[in-house]
Every structure is written in structure tokens, then in C-alpha cells.
Subunit: 344 residues, 2 copies
């Protein structure tokens, strides 16, 4: 009889996952296998903790998201939250609820993606929970990181005249999703068609396999800069800017023509008749870091080679509002759900 989730049972499944999992972090004293994982503290560091719940049909669609990519992405988005505190990710726990439709191969694929992300980012899988589900797939991930308290970046420290920076291009993950949705509609009821995804490798990867940016955390330490505020772009640039402004009690000016957009994002947006700045402002899932720095820290970014950083605007007094200066020179209020104002 072939091994299945039913014949393995919960403890068998946990054993299987544990056997395929190794730990490498010096702070992991005990991984999978007891009532709790045990984590030591590096000298002078504090811990940061974040958690995400991902539900089939809400956060992912298995018709176009391979399980290995899903596992990778689920880890990546949690590590991104740790990076968004300007902290280093160290450990994760992963809980899954799976219905009877899942094979053991499917679970292996999911965990292959989880482990790949762990290896890529030097993070240990130290625990979790497995359970059966009456419906679809449920994934809950908790990520733990650490950093010196003096280097942590919160959302509430932005001050007028700080420079707003972002670590990479925006809107690509949203463009990738639009492409996948279009192909899903085209292919429905047409088994002979192949999806027309050629020329869009970058935006598909941004959607299916986003990457957190611990390299930015590293670089900021190297050049001795602590951002005055920081978030990761998960809900769209506009929404994240509003969070930072609201929690820091400041306003901002964003320059439309400074927002980095990838050529593929622009190309697909042109095909679909979407303004690409809308994808950047409201698309989300880019997982780049958005942060503010003091003006005097700006030259440090040029002091040594490192990842590209884009200055996209500045922080101003609260009374001046949160606005985008468009390429045409107009000003427009930023909206958390800005679709109404930006449709072509």
C-alpha cells in the first residue's frame, strides 16, 4: 500500500517532516519534537515575532499556484515582516490543516518550498502543528527574528524632511496576478490552450515567488543607518505610506515619476489598459521595504556598493497631507483604496 496521510497519521506526518528538517541557527537550542521549540538569545538582542494565516480561496488559488511556490511564498512573506522591523529572521513555525484531497506528495511539495525558503534565508523550521481539515488548505506561519533594540525600525518614527525610500520596483506582483487571472479565464473550458505567459517571467515570479529583503537589513547595518520608520509593501505603497504617516503623525509627498516600475509591469499594464502607478500604489504583495531615513544619512547609501535603493519622496508636516505629485505636476491625495481616483 502506498504511503498516504491517512496511513501515516498526525504523528507519522510530523516525524516525516522532522526527519527532512535540519537546523542551522546557533540560537535554535531545540527544534521540532517536544512541546515547544527552545531559542536562546544572542547577546544584546531582542526577539521580534510575527504571524500570518493563509487560507485557500482567500490568499491563494491552487489552480495556478504550485504547492512548492506556495510554501516558499508563505515563508517569504513572514520573513518580510521580520525584515520590516529592520531585524534578522531566525526561526519559523509552520502549522497546516489539510483536507483529504491532498496527497502525501502534495504535502512534500509544500514543505519542499518551505524548506527551500528556509535554506535560502538561513532560517530554521523549529515547530508547528498538523491537522486534518474539512475544507481546503490552511497555512499558519509564525516567524521569529532578532536585532539590537537600537537598530529596530518601527512605523511611528518618521519625521518631517526625512527621505522616503523603497528597496525595489513595485506593482509587479499585482501585474503577475492579473496575468494569471487572465490566463485562468482564457483556459477555462479550453484544455488544448497553453497559457500565454511568454515575456512575463519577472512579474510571474514576483507574484508566485516573492523574496524578503534581509540583504537591506544587512546593508543598513553595514552603512550604519537606522531607518526612522519602516514597513514592507504587502498591501500596496499607498496603504503602507498612510500607515507610516498615521502612526508617525506626519504627512508625505510621493513623486509619481520616482516610483520604480519594471518594464514587464509597464508592458502588461499597457496590454490590460491599467495605469501602472495604480498597480504600484494599490496592488500590494511586492514585499519590498519602504522606509524613511534622515537626510544626513542619505550620502551613506553611496558610500559603498550595495543593493539599489530608490528615493521616492519625503516626509512633511501632518497638516500638509499625504499626497502624490503626479508626472504632470498635479497633486493627488493618497488613498488606501485609491482605485476610484486612478482609473484610466
Amino acid at each position: 500500500m502506498a504511503e498516504s496521510i491517512e496511513t501515516l497519521g498526525e504523528f507519522g506526518l510530523i516525524d516525516r517532516i522532522a526527519k527532512q528538517t535540519t537546523t542551522q541557527q546557533p540560537t535554535t537550542l531545540k527544534g521540532i519534537g517536544d512541546d515547544c521549540a527552545v531559542l536562546s538569545q544572542s547577546e544584546g538582542m531582542v526577539k521580534v515575532v510575527t504571524t500570518d494565516l493563509l487560507l485557500e480561496g482567500i490568499h491563494f488559488d491552487l489552480t495556478y499556484c504550485p504547492l512548492k511556490h506556495l510554501g516558499y511564498k508563505a515563508v517569504a512573506v513572514n520573513l518580510s515582516d521580520v525584515c520590516a522591523m529592520n531585524a534578522y529572521p531566525r526561526q519559523i513555525t509552520v502549522s497546516i490543516g489539510v483536507s483529504g484531497k491532498f496527497t502525501l506528495k502534495a504535502i512534500d511539495d509544500l514543505y519542499d518550498g518551505i524548506r527551500l525558503a528556509c535554506q535560502r534565508y538561513g532560517v530554521d523550521l523549529v515547530g508547528g502543528d498538523t491537522t486534518s481539515s474539512l475544507t481546503g488548505l490552511t497555512i499558519s506561519i509564525t516567524a521569529i527574528g532578532e536585532q539590537k533594540p537600537s537598530r529596530l525600525a518601527y512605523r511611528n518614527g518618521a519625521r518631517p524632511n526625512d527621505i522616503l525610500c523603497v528597496s525595489g520596483d513595485l506593482g509587479a506582483a499585482y501585474a503577475g496576478l492579473q496575468l494569471l487571472e487572465r490566463e485562468k479565464r482564457v483556459l477555462k473550458g479550453n484544455n488544448s490552450a497553453s497559457p500565454a505567459l511568454d515575456g512575463y517571467k519577472y512579474i510571474l515570479e514576483r507574484q508566485l515567488k516573492p523574496e524578503p529583503r534581509p540583504d537591506i537589513v544587512d546593508f543598513l547595518e553595514k552603512i550604519d543607518v537606522v531607518p526612522t520608520s519602516m514597513m514592507d509593501v504587502s498591501d500596496g505603497l499607498s496603504s503602507e505610506l498612510i500607515h507610516i504617516c498615521s502612526q508617525s503623525e506626519v504627512g508625505c509627498r510621493l513623486y509619481e515619476d520616482r516610483v520604480p516600475l519594471h518594464a514587464e509591469t509597464k508592458a502588461l499594464c499597457a496590454e490590460l489598459n491599467i495605469n501602472p502607478i495604480v498597480a504600484a500604489l494599490n496592488g500590494g504583495e511586492d514585499y519590498e521595504l519602504l522606509f524613511s531615513i534622515r537626510q544626513e544619512d542619505y550620502p551613506k547609501f553611496q558610500s559603498q556598493p550595495g543593493p539599489e535603493i530608490y528615493a521616492i519622496g519625503y516626509v512633511c508636516e501632518k497638516e500638509k497631507g499625504r499626497r502624490m505629485i503626479t508626472t504632470g505636476g498635479d497633486e493627488a491625495d493618497l488613498q488606501a483604496q485609491g482605485w476610484r481616483f486612478f482609473t484610466n
Copy 2:
């Protein structure tokens, strides 16, 4: 318009939860409201982390589990895992997925129970995630605790001649569940009947509102005893003993007549024609602590007043197997799923 989950939205719901939540742990540097919670380390302590995923229809049945109780229980079982390391619970994160059938009142009830458990056990709610769900209620909780590394109790340290102890009576949660299931069957299609739960307050509470045992962790520190192994009884005494024996590479002898059983457990088991030792061995969800101690530590338990501890057997060499000595003087192998051997 009455406030609803839809009108509040995800951020509104998080704000609402955050506003109703206060923190009290000195190790909580930052709670809800940023990308991560931030936790400091107490001098000389390490952190322990555990996580559980609870799904409607699998782990709970909302037809007889009030949401406030469910919130309380979801926290309690996670704190119990922290106690099972002989550690002190300090923080939790809570993620929920809710379908459209839930009202804001229902979510408030759930969080009332969560906060009640937090207050009762001096634990901070420091983060989480809220999302909509296509189906039922999903709850994922991560609990974080701390302890000196020298006081942690793992599953693999039991040695021959150690005494096996348990912190309270077993089988009551299972008996409570049988009672609830019976009443659910009786009431089906009979709206005029009242459930016949009189005289079973204790077993109902054990099922609906279990309590973790940080008082045992406290007491063990007070009397200077570190258990050689420890688990909490979530899957039934038999299953937990097998885990400890397997991970410690030892055998054990359990005395049937020493296993503590509550009078209500015995009474309901008599009504339902179940052997109450079956409820204790295989029922689970008691959340008492099962642990082994060195013989020379045993007198310390009498050295000062404290919670009652029950010696229920001893650890032996692996070759001698894992067996229960029945009240009649026979020996029976312990089975993780022992129903076959213990039916009346």
C-alpha cells in the same frame, strides 16, 4: 448602521482588538500595531515557542462550545504546552479566519475569552492576523514563554527508577465531551428539551474551559525540583507515556489504581458503560502535567504546602516494556490507541 465586520474591515477589526488589549509583561516591549511584536529577554532565560491550529468541525463544534469558552480554551491549551516544558508563559499571538456568518459580537465574545485567559495567566496578547474565510472559523495561536535553560524539562530525560507523576485527575474532559455529544444527539430535532447536564459541572468545565498548570511550574521551582521529563496530557495518558518512553528510550509501569479519577468522571462513565480508566488513558484534553522525577526528589513534594501531585507509576528499562498494572494485578501493554484492549 450597526457596526459589522464588513464595515470595519481588516484594519478596523485589528484596531478594535488592539484598543481592547493591554500588556503587562515586562518582557513585552511592543505589542499589537507594527510589523512584529518585540520581546526582551529576562536575564539568563531562554525562550520557548509553541503553536496550535484549531479548525471548526475538527477541533471544536460551535453548536455546544460558546465562543468565549473557545477563546479561553484555545489560549489555555497553548499555555499548557509552555508549562509542559516547565517554562512560564509570557506572550501569545492569535490569528483568526472568520466567515461571513460571524457577527462582530461573536468576534468580541471570542476575544473576551482570549483576554480572560491572558489576564488569568498574566500573559500578553502581542500580535496576530485577521482574515476572512470561505468556510468556518480558524484559530491559530502561538505561545511564547521563558525559563532558565537548566530548569527546562524535555521529553527525553526519563531514567529507570524515576517516579511518574501527574498534576490532577484524568479522563474528565473526555467524559465532558461524551456528555455534550449525548445531549446534542438527544436535542436534535427536539427544540423543547433542555440538556440534562445537572450534576456534571466539573466534567463540563474540564472539557469547555481547561486550565494550564503554571502553578506546578512555580511549585517545582519553589521546591527546587526539575522533572527529568515532562509533557502535558492532551492526547491521553497512554499516548503521552508512550511519547516519553520512546523519546527517553525507557519503559514504564503505570498503576491503574493510582490514576486519579474525579467522582463525576466515574459517574458518567458508569452511565455510559465506559471503563473510566479508558477515558483517562485515551481521552485526552485534560491538560494536566505528566512528568518524571528522581526518587530522591520525591520527599521535597511533602516539604511544603503546594498543589497536589499524584505518583502513578515508575520508569523502568526499555526492555521491560510499557505496561499498566491493573487493579486486578494483571499487566497490559499501553497502546496509543488502546480502545481495543480496554472496552468493557
